[in-house]
Structures are given as structure tokens and as C-alpha cells.
Amino acid sequence: MSSHVHNHAHTVADEIAEKTFQDVSICYQCGKCSAGCPVRYYMDVAPNKVVRLIQLGFYEEALNSSTPWLCAGCQTCSTRCPQEFDLAKFMDAVREIALEKGVEVKEKHIMDFHKAFLDQIKWFGKSYEVGLTADYKARTLDLLTDVDSAPGLFFKGKLNILPHKIKDKESVRKIFKKTAKK
């Protein structure tokens, strides 16, 4: 583990503060967040420890962990934090910074899902489940999982063969264009 000490440089902790309007140093490591986290068992680093890594300047270790990807965003941690630190929002920022820095994503399938989902919105303005599943499967080559659910959905009238599109698709495309990462 190598510590990165930045005295005047723009640090990851600064970036998190800018994105979330909260200071990571307020966390005093009680661990309540990790104790209540429903997906803690699947993570390589406990949520409170990701906070600790950022506090100490071990940015690479934090950005490389599987934790932000596996976080389900349920906000149990944010609800219980005695310091009112919004850990779910913190995880959003850590993920976003990892993407901006081009860090290799530990949970590739999860990121593939997000890309596939956002593609549907960019194209149609709404999520389109058939397109989403096809796009996701093309990215992951995970072709067999869930194929069993599709005929049932179709016969129950839940699977739209064609996407529902919004009229003003351009307005949504512009939003994607203007917020795209360089």
C-alpha cells in the first residue's frame, strides 16, 4: 500500500467534497454503516474502510475496490450515520471519480448493465427492457441467464417488442451530450 500525500494538489478527497458537499474527515469510524450494509459480505473492503482509505490518502486502493460497484444504493448507511455523513452519496462520487480516472472496474457486469441502461435512455428517452437485456447480453456475453423469464413476460403482456419512445428525444440526447465526461 502506498500513501499519496498531496499538500496543495487537488486530491480525490477534494473532488468528493465538490461533488457531494460534504467533508470526508467528519467520519470517526464507528463502523455502523458496514454493520448494517446488506451487501457487505460481497465486498472486498468494508464501506467504512473505503472512507478511511480516502481520509488517509490511499486513493488508488479505494478507487480499485469492488465496494462502490456492489453498493446497492439502499441508503441504510446514510440513514444510520451518527455524523449524518451521506455514505451512499459518497459511494456515488467514488464510482464517478473511478470512471473519470479510467480505473479498471472490478465489477464489470455491473458497469455493463449501467452502460446498457443509459444507452436505452439516450436513444429512446425511456428504458426499453428488450433493448436493455439484448444490449447487456451483447456486452457481457452472458447469454443464458434469465432467458427462462422472457417467454413468461411476453405472454403476460409485460414485454414490449418495440420501445416506447418519447417525442422530444433531442432534449434527452442534449442532456447526455452536455453532461458527457471528457
Binding site: F21, V39, C74, K126, T133, L153, S171, I175
Partner: protein, 291 residues
């Protein structure tokens, strides 16, 4: 009374019965919903976990449209959409710079704050007395586990709607139908939400624990107010059975469907036949005969 309606993408597909039952129940209670014209996806999980500006802009496009349509309040029946709309609006309007930035991204002015309601708040607004007055079937035979999931009550500081650890508002509503509610441990535990396709193993594990706890505490059915929760808890039961062979089918209803049954509508009318796990309400006499 006219209320804005933000259906959310699921209501047009996998949760079509939630849309059907909501509209029928609201109509029966004498309210009409005014759908936001040309609404788009709120951005859901995938936007806010990867790009916070994109997430806020996608949600605020809809808030701006609601304002243009002259609405002051709207209902978002999907707990995830509700959460995104409430949080994005809070984050955008609480700082002048953020508001201006979002307005320039969506190329629209945000003139006013829109009161965004979840499903339970919608019923509060309509009035519980209307449900009691319209009730034609007393569901006294039923024990219900009310499942809030994570996003319906959080973040409590912004939603300001119920206790985020021990919510009781859904129980209050369910009791109006005559049904009993059970005390149980998993009503605010996460089902795995957006990991449904990408980490099905996690979703099966979490959802299975939720269903097991509801059964252990004597529930006959679970009631939810979120399409993502419903997908994970209903549609995933087939895969759950492969993973946990001792698992038995357990019906999961939308809150609107349960209220619809009490108001005298049939399972088919409410779209309950579209669930993976079949459900039909049994009158007390039928239950006795079966035992």
C-alpha cells in the same frame, strides 16, 4: 382533484399491473391523474451511480415539464423514481449555482418546487376515509407483511414522511382493508434492487431472506410499493427455487392491488394474473373448507 402522474418506465412494461391497478383504484376513489406530457426516464440507478449531473438533469427535465403543465404536485408510484425525483429536486434547488447549471443543461427554467409524493402519500392526500367508505370486501382473513424496501422512506431528512427504521404508514393503510399486518424484521432491508440482471446471486440471496422472514412471522402475502422490489421478489422466485430447493411460492402484491381487492375489484381486473406467483383472495369459509 387533479394530480400529476409520473409513471416511470417500469409501469409501461414489467410493472404494467401496477399502472393498471393504480389507475383503477384512484379512479374509484374519485381522483384523476394527469400524466406528465412527454415524460422521460428519471435516470434511475444507472445515472446517479455514474454521473451525478446527468442524474440530476434527467430527473429535473420531468420536474420542469410538470411545472410547465401547471402542476403543483405529482405522484411517482415507483419508489426508485420517487427517490430520484425528490433527491434531485432537493439537490438542484438548494444551491443557486446548481440550479442555474441544471437549467442550462436541460434548457428549461425551473420555476417552482413540485411536491413529489410516493404511493402512500397519494392515498393520504386522497383521504383514508374514502377507502373506508368504498370498501366492499373485508380482507379480514389476510395477514400481510408490509415491505417498504429502501427507497420509499429514505433519505428521511428529505422525504420527511415516515420513520426510516420503523415505518408504520403502510400498515396503517393496509389495516383499512380489514387485513392484519405482521411484525417482522425485514421491512426496510434491501432486495438488491438494480443488481437484478448483473448480480442475480446477490438479489436471490437478499430477496430470499426477505420472503423467509415474512413467512416466519405468519404472513400470507407481502405488499410492496415499488416495481423493482416486485420484480426481485415475485419474478425471481423461480430462480430462487433452483438456488434454495426448500423455497415455496409466496405471493407478492402491489399495495394498489390489495386496496383494489377491498374496493371490490377482481384479481383479473387489477392485473394480479400477470404475476409470476399466482394469487387469489380466499374468503374465510373457503379457507376453513380447505383445512
Amino acid at each position: 382533484m387533479k394530480l400529476g402522474y409520473f409513471p416511470g418506465c417500469s409501469q409501461t412494461g414489467t410493472a404494467i399491473e401496477y399502472d393498471i391497478s393504480l389507475k383503477k383504484v384512484v379512479d374509484k376513489l374519485g381522483t384523476s391523474l394527469d400524466e406528465i406530457k412527454d415524460w422521460s426516464c428519471c435516470g434511475a440507478t444507472s445515472a446517479h451511480v455514474t454521473n451525478h449531473k446527468l442524474a440530476n438533469a434527467l430527473a429535473m427535465r420531468n420536474i420542469a415539464l410538470a411545472g410547465e403543465q401547471g402542476l403543483d404536485e405529482l405522484v411517482a408510484p415507483c419508489a426508485a423514481c420517487y427517490n430520484r425525483l425528490v433527491v434531485s429536486q432537493h439537490d438542484t434547488l438548494s444551491r443557486k449555482e446548481t440550479k442555474e447549471e441544471i437549467e442550462s443543461i436541460i434548457e428549461a427554467k425551473i420555476d417552482k418546487e413540485i411536491k413529489v409524493m410516493n404511493l402512500i402519500e397519494l392515498f393520504r392526500k386522497i383521504g383514508y376515509d374514502k377507502i373506508t367508505a368504498g370498501k366492499v370486501k373485508d380482507l379480514k382473513n389476510l395477514s400481510v407483511a408490509c415491505y417498504y424496501g429502501c427507497l420509499l422512506v429514505r433519505p428521511a431528512g428529505i422525504t420527511k414522511f415516515d420513520d426510516p427504521e420503523q415505518p408504520e404508514s403502510m400498515e396503517e393503510l393496509v389495516k383499512l382493508t380489514g387485513a392484519k399486518t405482521v411484525d417482522w424484521n425485514y421491512k426496510i432491508e434491501c432486495c438488491g434492487a438494480g443488481h437484478s440482471l448483473s448480480r442475480r446471486d446477490i438479489v436471490l440471496d437478499l430477496s430470499h431472506k426477505i420472503i423467509e422472514d415474512a413467512k416466519k412471522h405468519g404472513a400470507d402475502v407481502m405488499v410492496v410499493a415499488c416495481p423493482m422490489c416486485h420484480t426481485n421478489l415475485d419474478m425471481r422466485q423461480r430462480a430462487m427455487k433452483r438456488e434454495y430447493p426448500e423455497h415455496n411460492d409466496f405471493p407478492v402484491l402491489y399495495l394498489t392491488e390489495l386496496i383494489g381487492l377491498a374496493l371490490g375489484m377482481s384479481e383479473k381486473e387489477l392485473g394480479i394474473d400477470k404475476h409470476y406467483i399466482n394469487y387469489k383472495y380466499k374468503e374465510p369459509a373457503e379457507v376453513k373448507a380447505a383445512v
